[in-house]
Point group: C2
Chain length 415, copies 2
């Protein structure tokens, strides 16, 4: 089955909003073996919507549409779909009841705009929006199925997960697309690609390879396509085994693994705790760790020590170390790691100290210079990295490197 995703909304075309919905939808469809052939963003204009719908039906079986279903006047998707599918809007009693319940639960009052949310095209099937007021709508025309959903990400996701994906899973059989992603940390893309050239030349034709760079991590994606699921799984698994031999120390995870998740699972398994002393990463490692549900089991907390006084007063860093070596130094970052372990009485700790930029660089320590330390009961290890010029990227890279250093410390792998 082939699908196209259409996103409707001026906010995307003027760059106000980044379209995160399409990536999520594509990922979910892929898991069902549905190929997404195109993602298109268009404005809230009738003729653009018509053009996109006409274009989409040419080479797809399924068109997923998000956006333009809000209660305000700039949202025209619903009435445009009614016109496209040659029908009129009628009030749906069930939807109206749901909207009423929804509004009352939030201690608000029904207004005209809420009532209008219950008007739907007469010939569509309604998909319930359990956590919002705009219903989803399903249309069939020719051999193509069109599904319109709200653009609010968590409403769309709930609708997909609860109703749409299970239905699609029933229909879709026979053709499989299997992805396996290998996360690597440590080498740049071209060095990795050169090292893996021979391996790439021997992989079977059912499999394609892509390199996906992101701050701190290069992902290696293997994709197998075909009709024999078991065969494809075996092909992929053989190649992963080869990669484990070729780049054992670079691999730090698989698929949707995140380092904060991997580290969390390791700590949980060993019933160990973690604390953080962040300077240049400014709370980002803490934010990553606590984005994982259940992280309170192993994460005690941390200190963001942006000023030197706090490094001394709260983290027990020696004033002499700061004076003699500077805040961005092996001495200070190691003392920070030991200090926060002592303060929080945790098993492990991480500390960062660097110059994220754009200001603060010197000839000796240019912007991007970053010291990272990890500590356990028995040891403190630290390493210096020279990252780039971009503040946000430096923070992200330092965070990922730090989490990977902790992973290696816990597993006893050389840094």
């Amino acid at each position: 089955m082939k699908a196209e995703i259409i996103t409707i909304g001026d906010e995307i075309l003027i760059g106000q909003t980044v379209d995160t919905n399409s990536a999520w939808i594509a990922q979910e469809l892929n898991l069902l073996g549905i190929d997404v052939v195109r993602i298109v963003s268009i404005s809230d204009k009738k003729d653009e919507i018509f053009k996109a719908l006409n274009n989409a039906r040419k080479n797809t079986d399924l068109v997923l549409i998000t956006g333009g279903l809000g209660p305000t006047d700039d949202d025209i998707t619903k009435k445009t779909l009614a016109e496209y599918f040659d029908t009129k809007l009628v009030q749906n009693k069930e939807v109206l009841k749901h909207v009423e319940e929804f509004v009352i639960k939030r201690k608000a009052h029904m207004n005209d705009r809420n009532v209008k949310q219950a008007d739907v095209p007469e010939n569509c099937s309604i998909i319930k929006n359990e956590i919002g007021t705009a219903p989803g709508m399903l249309f069939n025309k020719g051999d193509v199925t069109y599904i319109s959903m709200p653009g609010v990400p968590f409403e769309m996701k709930r609708m997909m997960t609860q109703f749409i994906l299970p239905e699609l899973a029933k229909i879709e059989k026979g053709y499989y697309i299997i992805h396996k992603v290998i996360l690597t940390q440590g080498w740049p893309e071209s060095k990795l690609a050169e090292h893996l050239e021979e391996w790439e030349n021997q992989i079977p034709e059912e499999i394609s390879v892509a390199y996906l760079p992101s701050p701190g991590i290069i992902k290696l994606r293997l994709t197998a396509k075909g009709t024999n699921q078991e065969h494809l799984i075996n092909l992929i698994s053989d190649q992963v085994k080869k990669l484990k031999i070729l780049i054992p120390r670079l691999i730090c995870g698989y698929d949707n693994d995140k380092l904060e998740d991997i580290v969390g699972m390791l700590l949980n398994k060993e019933k160990k705790t973690l604390s953080l002393a962040e300077s240049c990463t400014g709370g980002n490692i803490s934010h990553l760790i606590t984005s994982i549900p259940g992280s309170s089991e192993y994460f005690l907390g941390g200190v963001v020590a942006y000023s030197n006084q706090i490094k001394e007063a709260v983290l027990f860093v020696n004033n002499n170390s700061i004076v003699n070596y500077g805040a961005v130094s092996k001495q200070v970052v190691e003392e920070m790691a030991m200090g926060v372990r002592r303060l929080y009485k945790s098993d492990f700790s991480i500390a960062t100290s660097g110059i994220a930029g754009p200001g603060g660089g010197t000839e000796e320590k240019p912007v991007g210079t970053t010291w990272i330390a990890v500590a356990s009961e028995t040891m403190v290890l630290s390493k210096k990295y020279v990252l780039g010029n971009h503040r946000g990227r430096n923070i992200q890279m330092a965070s990922i490197i730090a989490l990977n250093m902790l992973r290696k410390l816990i597993l006893g792998i050389e840094l």
Copy 2:
């Protein structure tokens, strides 16, 4: 001038990567008065690229292409463009020299893949990639200009900012699109829309309005289009004045303002300092604050106090308060705010304590229950919020509400 953006790369169609480039490009083109009519993502396949290029030239003057220029075999954009524009790849000496310098500077060795980056279509103009190895390429065919850029966001952005946008600014004159965004915090979309219905009915026809909801913030976007720039600016400015009277306490910023930026500017102006005591937001407020360059001027740091012991041991929270009222309570969050101010000797502080979910909720305090406090030298103010069920969203919303509470405290606006 009308533009289309084409993003090439399987990673987007399988949902591995979210396309953030297009939003950025669209925003920049808009500022020059260039309308983006469509954003399309397609796979690394020759026929898809041909189809997209053919389709784009029908109703646009400018086609911006990103992606598919990497050094690995899955990237086919360059050779496909050469074929589409009826030419062949030839080695470009200047590009080769740049690639060599680039590789040597990074203490790496030139390999075959690096050398291949210097092969470019014979009939294109080269756009220098100052911070990467894949050059940009410009083609003219009929009345349409095509520009191909790397997909790596910071390389693409540098190329656009340094070379492409200045060139486009020279060409584009006469038609203007002006956006003004008003950030509101406090009311849901439908309540805001109802309150502003009369206002919406009276706005001049040159202006359109859109409501853009995001966690914690509803953005109200006014767009004026026409040929008289000054007239459009005045029209927009009149409407903003009206909104300031209609929703004075809801407006918390404009355009690309971020609360962390607004708060930072206020603190900077008054030469005041800030510290944070985060429980449920887990370091996210700290991360937001430190994402702003120069934040070390006013941000001393913070404590992420995920465990109750740390709330007591580091933040001086009274054990009795935790026992009697629970960690998620007015008492505890106010003691956290006062405690961190004392520890960091800051002028202001923020504290958060809540149940981010998915676990940890009770009947009395369901998931989403969140206490936020802000403190200054003379007062501590706190407020309870009942947010939603989604962990990531709760963390984001609590962070934004907290920053807005601090903004109001600094400005002396009632919470």
